[in-house]
Amino acid sequence: MTTNQIMFILFSAMIIVFSILTVTSQKILRAAVYLLFVLVSTAGLYFMLNFQFLAAVQLTLYAGGIVVLIIFSILLTSHIDHKFESLGWKKSLFSALAVISGAILSIVTILDYKFSATTEAAKEIDMRLIGNSLLSVEKDGYVLPFEVISILLLAAMIAAIVIAKKGAPKKLESQTLKQ
């Protein structure tokens, strides 16, 4: 067994165990921390696949940004030692049945399918290549999705501010209208 395989088994075991803990943990803050472990081991898998840039993005944006956002909102909305009441066995049993049958179906399909790889030589992915193709209008350029995603990010930022902003209390408004 090579080092690669050992690392892969380690990362995938971490991902599976911690993602199951994320969806079953009774304490919400612990669930968020387990999600952090899942995201970090996913970044490890990206490193194994030789996508260093995306692994760095995963670490900074997901593990650094989204998890912190989620933990902040947990602290704002629930007590730190709040426990969920456990679900009825019926609900968890039938959800588990549906999920397991779906997983078995997909895994059988994956194992059945013959994937055919291209024979072309692998490309060296460096930062310069990613930046150039992100802003190029040539054949392998991605400038249109890049622009669309930048507008989406701007819209999401404004929307988040507008939604979460504390509006003026209703009573005050009606009082000023009367005056």
Binding site: T42, Y62, T77, F115, S133, M157
Partner: protein, 105 residues
Amino acid sequence: MNAGIPLNYFLILATIMFFVGVYGFLTRRNLITILMSVELILNSVNINFLAFNRYLFPHKLEGLFFSLFVIAVAASEAAVAIAIIINIYRRFTTINVEDVNVMKF
């Protein structure tokens, strides 16, 4: 770099992660934990894209850019969702999906 690991292993791992996320989506009753399940689902899709990119089309960059855009969409989705959740908490003082059943009052 990825010698000795077949493509199928990555796909099976992503499948398991995806369906664990679906399980959380079905059983959880708290809005934030539902959001966390959605993040799990999006992550498993990213693993799929990158594995396909590396194993089947190593001369292209499509998988990388698709997962980059998925990450950007997930980030903006999380920001807007958490703003909505905080607003809901302000009105209902709970974020349990079963208690939030009025759109306007």
